[in-house]
């Protein structure tokens, strides 16, 4: 053990970072697999069904093997490349959709003083990378040389560009509250359960989460792949593992939006007991319980899980929006709400109301 740790410390810095990056990526990939299963199970229960219950591992937990069976199936299927398509772009598109969803995790603070990169302009980095994700969809739709795919891509592009504005404005409120663009500092600036950004920036929190759902093209905003109108939208021509990559990108984006909502508005890795128990409280000295009650990665994971469940809940309950209604909601409702609340927040800062009173 001693030898291993000295050997590890002797390795150069970039090996450490690479190992960290690899660990985060693997955890993400496994969570995506489990999320697809959880989605089908949870929506099944909400709709009084059982969900997948056939593929068991070692005869335990019926259904737990389903995502892995799906992966094997998709890997073995043939990837059909349409004859009239643009072959190079057709192959690149899934990767372009996937990379930003993972690259954004570089700046997400996972625990106190723990993130892959501690970037001062972290919030801008998040905004710029999430806006790059749209290229995967546009290129896929165009390169397929199919009307349905192209229509899906156009819809999705317009939708993502529209909701990005509301998203950016909501984040302006967050950076006003924290006084920093650094995601770690944004988390640290939130104090106590009712001092987290969700209380004073509640409208911005709602707008951000709705825009996040729209950005990921999830129900009820999933017109980009509306089955009843344009078959499957931008990925209609993709089969096998190429389709699986788009699927992976969508779910990775969901996890990302849930994580960012937790970081920006729900205190990230902060424990909800933070404001109620003093840091030197005896409870924190109890061996395991103390760690659980204190700040840490597990609180971020719990918050991410909660928001993912909200994503699935929305999908299980709401009918799909009509396309013009989506545009109306984005431009005429969400953007004005954010602008008004930024002005209100400015007044609160100026007159030192609420968390700015100190």
């Amino acid at each position: 053990m001693q030898q291993i740790s000295t050997l590890w410390n002797a390795l150069p810095d970039f090996v450490h970072s690479l190992a960290f990056i690899l660990a985060v990526t693997i955890v993400l990939l496994v969570s995506v697999a489990l999320l697809t299963l959880w989605e089908r199970k949870l929506i099944g229960w909400m709709q009084v069904r059982r969900g997948p219950n056939r593929v068991a591992i070692f005869g335990l937990l019926p259904g737990i093997g389903q995502p892995f069976a799906d992966v094997v199936k998709l890997l073995l299927k043939e990837v059909v490349i349409p004859a009239q398509s643009n072959k190079v772009l057709f192959r690149i598109a899934p990767a372009i959709a996937l990379i930003p969803a993972f690259a954004t995790w570089a700046v997400v603070p996972l625990a106190p003083n723990l993130s892959i990169a501690n970037v001062d302009a972290g919030l801008l980095y998040v905004l710029s990378l999430t806006s790059v994700g749209v290229y995967g969809v546009i290129i896929a739709g165009w390169a397929s040389n199919s009307k349905y795919a192209f229509l899906g891509a156009m819809r999705s592009a317009a939708q993502i560009v529209a909701y990005e504005i509301a998203m950016g404005f909501a984040l302006v409120g967050v950076l006003m509250a924290a006084g920093s663009l650094n995601l770690g500092k944004i988390v640290e600036a939130q104090q106590g359960l009712f001092g987290w950004n969700w209380t004073w920036l509640f409208p911005l929190f709602v707008v951000y989460f709705i825009s996040g759902v729209a950005e990921t093209n999830r129900a009820p905003f999933d017109v980009a792949e509306g089955e009843s109108e344009i078959v499957a939208g931008f990925h209609v021509e993709y089969s096998g593992i190429a389709f699986a990559l788009f699927f992976l990108a969508e779910y990775a984006n969901m996890i990302l939006v849930a994580a960012l909502t937790a970081v920006f508005f729900w205190g990230g890795w902060l424990s909800p007991l933070d404001g109620f128990l003093a840091p030197d409280n005896a409870l924190f000295q109890v061996p395991v319980l103390g760690l659980l009650l204190g700040n840490g990665l597990h609180w971020l994971a719990a918050k991410i899980f909660f928001f993912l469940c909200v994503f699935l809940w929305l999908r299980a309950t709401f009918p799909r929006y009509r396309y013009d209604q989506i545009m109306r909601l984005g431009w005429k409702v969400l953007i004005p709400v954010t602008i008004v609340w930024i002005a209100v927040e400015g007044l609160m800062v100026y007159f030192k109301i609420g968390p700015w009173s100190a």
């Binding site: 302009a121 801008l124 710029s128 806006s131 749209v134 109306r328």
Partner: protein
């Protein structure tokens, strides 16, 4: 060493994609090449520790401007022959521009070769230096008026763009969502009471 390697790698990609913008036949490919060249120039800016500018370049140009560009280019049915018609006629203008640019770049390179201070590379900054903070500092103090003027100019542009699309055409059918929501069952539905017809 690594920085130099990255610089040459990114520069090579930048030059290749910039050439692609002007040489590729398909306008969509050209637009995508432009996206790549924006991206690599952002990477070059990161190498000289201008992270704010680099990220904003990606955010504004790659994330917003080029998406709309692609949007339009993909919808257009451009006739390449038509576009290439004026090539020889306007070639002299192109050559003039190229000569001017080459002259300017050579000027800078020669000036550096002579060891003039003004064109030397910036000194490496301390690790805790925040480029973003520094830009914010001068933008809201020293250059606050130009900044506000630019903001007003952009606002005027937004208003102009919106008014251009707000023109009302005759015979245009638009949904009035307020009216749709306000309708009641009585406006649309009439329940008739009638006797059943006698069986013949």
């Amino acid at each position: 060493m690594l920085v130099q390697f990255l610089f040459y790698a990114f520069s090579a990609v930048l030059i290749a994609s910039a050439l692609g913008v002007i040489t590729l036949r398909n306008p969509v490919h050209s637009a995508l090449c432009l996206v790549v060249s924006f991206f690599t120039s952002a990477a070059l800016w990161l190498l000289i520790e201008a992270e704010f500018l680099a990220i904003v370049l990606v955010l504004v140009y790659v994330g917003a401007v080029m998406v709309l560009f692609l949007f339009v280019v993909m919808m257009l049915d451009i006739n390449v022959e038509e576009v290439r018609k004026g090539f020889t006629r306007h070639a002299w203008l192109g050559w003039l521009t190229v000569c001017a640019i080459v002259f300017e770049i050579m000027g800078v390179v020669f000036a550096r070769g002579l060891g003039i201070d003004a064109t030397q590379a910036a000194k490496p900054l301390p690790a805790d230096y925040s480029n973003t903070g520094a830009i914010g500092q001068v933008m809201y103090t020293q250059y606050v008026y130009p900044f506000e003027l630019a903001a007003v100019l952009l606002l005027v542009a937004i208003v102009a763009a919106i008014t251009l699309t707000m023109r009302k055409r005759k015979g245009l059918k638009v949904q009035d969502i307020g009216a749709q929501v306000a309708t009641r069952a009585e406006d649309r539905l009439r329940v008739l009471k009638m006797k059943a017809e006698d069986r013949k």
